[in-house]
Amino acid sequence: MSVLEVKHISKSFGTSNVLSDINLTFEANKIYGLLGRNSAGKSTLLNIITNRIFADSGEVTIDSENVAENDSKLGQMFLMSEVNTYPAGSTLSFIIKQTEQLYGGFNHQLANRLVNEFELDLSQKFGKLSTGYNSIFKLVLALCVPVKFVIFDEPVLGLDANHREIFYTELLQSYSDTPRTIILSTHLIEEITQIISDVIVIDHGNILLDQTVEDVLSKTHAVAGPSSDVNQYTNGLNVIGSETMGNLKTNYVFGDLDDRILPDTVQLSKFDLQKLFIFLTTGAPVKGGNKGEN
């Protein structure tokens, strides 16, 4: 049971602060969702975790041992990323062979099944792949290497709906067969909400959220009804967004409701992770005002 820890990681490029004192713990055999808007710092963080680039300060450890320049620890992680790290002139089967030699193993049975399902031609050169098949090939590698931490940065980039379906299904099958820690960094929040058990939201280099999905969703409350009643009811609560239509208003609350009495005119329901994400990361400080219409 291995634990991956990110401790006090900071990183800036030139004058812009990309990550500020990030602390995270990835426990064994859980599926994490790492969410953030473009250039929120996700890829930088993942590159630092896998020692591809250096942090300005802080460290990344697996089971309390620093991963930097550490073959045995680096060999326990696989990062599937947008950046092409393989030689364009190599054939896919050659890359698989090299990957197997360097990671000391490869699940060929699963690879064969995936190659069939995705209709991937392994005799192709890596540089000749389309965006979709480029992602697919890297997904196959990620799922078949014997590591404890599989990290996906934009796994479904360029994949059509059918291929995404295959990916999620195979990811869950592979996870059930060989439990390991999985980190999914993606913009398609709705597609992974039920797959992940924990969600991390990163924005402007800071962690906004790091909790189980169940806890997060239990704290979402959409309060709808006549404007004045809704405002009165949510007064003092953590309102992160709202929508108005005529005299009807919905205030989106993130946090626990206290014992206050719900007026008959006001209705309570939940809202989903994607909506929560949008409200949390839309930038301008959120007041009870009308901002849902733009």
Binding site: L172, Q173, S176, D177, E191, Q194, E214, K270
Partner: protein, 122 residues
């Protein structure tokens, strides 16, 4: 099975409900195996731990049993028990809502009873 991913009901609770529902409708048959956690997880793209949590609720209620090395099986007599508990909860789950909605619409007790009778005669 179907799930409402933005319902106020947590997914594991929905899984438990759906399993019970399937037992009632005959989708899952008594003394027979139900799909594994992995199968349900794959089919609906739900985290296996969540599926397991839902299943364990049903196990706790005594409608499913784990047979070692084989999987989850529907307990004999489970259907009848679920039906009974659903009947017991019928008033709380449906009647109260029905009456409160009727009051909102100014439907009187007699009118409501007439409507229910009409529904039965269809």
């Amino acid at each position: 099975m179907q799930f409402k991913f933005n319902s106020s009901e947590p997914i594991y609770r929905q899984i438990a409900d759906q399993i019970e529902e399937s037992i009632v409708t005959g989708g899952f048959i008594e003394d027979k195996q139900i799909p594994s956690t992995t199968e349900i997880s794959k089919e609906f793209h739900i985290n296996p731990a969540t599926v397991l949590k839902g299943m364990n609720i049903v196990v706790g209620e005594g409608f499913l049993e784990k047979r070692r090395g084989l999987g989850m099986f529907v307990v004999k007599g489970a259907r009848e028990k679920i039906l009974k508990s659903k009947r017991d909860n019928f008033f709380a789950n449906y009647v109260i809502h029905l009456i409160s909605e009727a009051k909102n619409l100014n439907i009187s007790e007699d009118e409501l009873i007439a409507l229910i009778k009409r529904g039965f005669s269809k």
